[in-house]
């Protein structure tokens, strides 16, 4: 079967609501809010509208759900794991940039 797909970029130009993020990630609302309150998942809290998230966050929230299920982590454990993964990601980006600057 041949299907032409709609393609959505998960970047800072697209936003999702709290409800959408719950549906897309598989996290429960209470877990998601705890991760928002602990600062691991960045949210925009608009008066009268509620939480909105950059589509970039979908990947983080899905990783959180996977770690929760695969390691049976609670939200405190998830929070630590996600912070460390984010640090690893930042360092890997930095290494990649430094490698790119080095002549071959």
């Amino acid at each position: 079967m041949n299907i032409e797909a709609e393609v959505l970029w998960l970047d800072e130009h697209r936003e999702v609501s709290l409800r959408e993020l719950i549906d897309l990630s598989g996290l429960r609302e209470a877990e998601l809010l705890e991760l928002v309150h602990s600062g691991v998942i960045a949210a925009n809290d608009r008066p009268g509208v509620g939480y909105h998230f950059s589509a970039r966050v979908i990947t983080v929230a899905r990783t959180a759900c996977r770690l929760r299920d695969d390691f049976e982590l609670d939200t405190r454990g998830l929070s630590v794991a996600l912070r460390l993964l984010e640090r690893v990601r930042t360092l890997e980006e930095e290494i990649s940039r430094l490698r790119a600057e080095l002549p071959r």
Binding site: M1, N2, I3, E4, A5, E6, V7, L8, W9, L10, D11, H13, L24, A55, R56, I58, T59, R62, T63, R66, L67, D70, F71, L85, E93, S96, R97, R99, A100, E101, P103, R104
Partner: protein, 312 residues
Amino acid sequence: MKYADYYAALGVERGASADEIKKAYRRLAQKHHPDVSKEEGAEARFKEIAEAYQTLKDPEKRAAYDALGSRPQGEEFRPPPDWSRQHGGAGADAGSAQFSFDDADFADLFSRFGARNGALAGEDFEVPVEISIEDAFRGTTLSLSLSMPEYDASGRVRRVPHTVKARVAPGAVDGQRLRLPGKGGKGRQGGRDGDLYLDITLKPHRLYRATGHDLFLDLPLAPWEAALGATVEVPTLSGLVSLKVPAGTSAAKKLRLAGRGLPKPRGGAGDLIAVAQIVVPGELGERERELYQQLAEISEFNPRRHFAAEGT
């Protein structure tokens, strides 16, 4: 289908206790989980481990698995004729030879256990995709061949090949994630279809090294071009452009061609950064050698002057 030895996957005996199975899973998951491990093959290894654990941690599924008997890993295999009816696995309602195990994976045998009534969302899939830097620059249409589980009304599963075409607009960078809504596994009983997530990486390039939307390029210069300055032609993704190399350019100096990197999805582009390399001829002709010798005699340039400050 091919038999999967779940006990071997977890490295436990067939008679292992539930606690031993859980401990083995945790130990292996910490080592091979794709969010944690960057080892080659980690994702496939974790999939085996998780599949084994999903079955062996559940007493009902484990009993059904054990009833299949023990065989060598990967051996061609069909469940006994009465297995589905006795254990309620996939194909339990088949009632005839119409259900073909040939279209299912081994793990699909256990997919019906614990299935609840009501809407079930389709499975999401994440697929790594490698594209070239040229494709990231121009945009590309991906053609993805996937095998997805599909369930009929009675819950019987079979793997169906799908080709998904996805247009990736210019501007993807390494690590870019894309979501294709509804292109994952089919939902059941009114549940929504799953999504397909693409994780883009850029293939290594002969000339360019990408970081974000910027591209780095080694720019070899002859010693006289670096010393005297020169205008040289530089390959960019949109063709050759002239670059003015200022006099006195040392190795590793970065010369920036603004807006000549990868395009950004909402307009603008990264830069192309040429990194100067001073290259000397491997062999010198007689006249070249004479001129270099003359230069050595008259020049007061000392590239190691700063060593002197150490006082040796």
